[in-house]
C-alpha cells in the first residue's frame, strides 16, 4: 500500500539548534516529493518539489533532500518564526494531483 510516514510527530528545538525532519515513502512510480508548511489556522503553503534521488533544494534556513526511500527537511539555525507543521507528500504515477499522498506532518516548535 502506498504511504507516506513522517517522523517525529513533534519536535521542540532551541533557537539556533539545527535538526532534520524525516519523510519516508513507499509509492509506485514517484512523480515528485513535496514539502509544505502549515501555520495554525491556515492552509498548507508550498515549499519544495524534489523529483529524483540526490536532488536538493534550499530556501533560507531550510534544505530538502531526496533519496530513493526518504526525504529530509534540514533546518539550520532555526528561528521562532520557523515554528509550524511541516507536511511531506508524494505524487504517484504520471497523471494529476489526484494521486498525491500526504503524511501526517511534524509539528516543529522553536523556543527563543
Amino acid at each position: 500500500e502506498d504511504q507516506v510516514t513522517q517522523s517525529p510527530e513533534a519536535l521542540r528545538l532551541q533557537e539556533g539548534e539545527s535538526s532534520s525532519l524525516n519523510c519516508s515513502y513507499t509509492v509506485s512510480g514517484l512523480r515528485g516529493l513535496f514539502w509544505y508548511r502549515q501555520d495554525p489556522g491556515k492552509g498548507p503553503e508550498f515549499l519544495f518539489t524534489l523529483y529524483s534521488a540526490g536532488e536538493e533544494k534550499e530556501k533560507e534556513r531550510l534544505k530538502a533532500t531526496l533519496t530513493k526511500k526518504e526525504s529530509f527537511l534540514h533546518i539550520t539555525a532555526p528561528k521562532p518564526e520557523d515554528s509550524a507543521t511541516y507536511l511531506c507528500a508524494a505524487g504517484e504515477g504520471y497523471s494529476s494531483a489526484s494521486k498525491i499522498i500526504f503524511g501526517s506532518g511534524t509539528r516543529l516548535s522553536i523556543r527563543p
Binding site: 509544505y36 489556522g41 492552509g43 494529476s96 489526484s98 500526504f102 503524511g103 501526517s104
Partner: protein, 112 residues
C-alpha cells in the same frame, strides 16, 4: 499570487443538517480539490474536479458530494451531517501541468 477563498472559517452544525462548504479561486485553474485534515491522519482527498461539471471520487467520498457549475467555484456538500464529519476541510487548486497545490485557509466544521 493565487487566492483560494473558503466561505467560512468556523462552522457549527447539527447532526442530520445539509451543509455546504464553498471554495472560490481567482487564477483560472482547471483542477480543484477538497481534503479533510484530522490529527494523526494527514490530509485525505474527498473529491476533485478537473473541469466544469466534472468530478472524481477521492479516497474518502462516502457521505459527501460536490458541485462545480463554474470554473472558479467548487462546493462540498454534506447531505446529512454526522459527528464523524467533524474536521478541518481544505480546498486546493492546481494549474494544468503544475505541481504546486494552492490551499485555502480551511473551514473547521463541528457537527454536534
Amino acid at each position: 499570487d493565487v487566492k483560494v477563498t473558503q466561505s467560512s472559517r468556523y462552522l457549527v452544525k447539527r447532526t442530520g443538517e445539509k451543509v455546504f462548504l464553498e471554495c472560490v479561486q481567482d487564477m483560472d485553474h482547471e483542477n480543484m480539490f477538497w481534503y479533510r485534515q484530522d490529527p494523526g491522519l494527514g490530509l485525505r482527498l474527498i473529491y476533485f474536479s478537473y473541469d466544469v461539471k466534472m468530478k472524481e471520487k477521492g479516497d474518502i467520498p462516502e457521505g459527501y458530494s460536490v458541485s462545480r457549475e463554474k470554473k472558479e467555484r467548487f462546493s462540498l456538500i454534506l447531505e446529512s451531517a454526522s459527528t464523524n464529519q467533524t474536521s478541518m476541510y481544505l480546498c486546493a487548486t492546481l494549474g494544468q501541468g503544475d505541481e504546486k497545490l494552492f490551499f485555502g485557509s480551511g473551514t473547521q466544521l463541528s457537527v454536534l
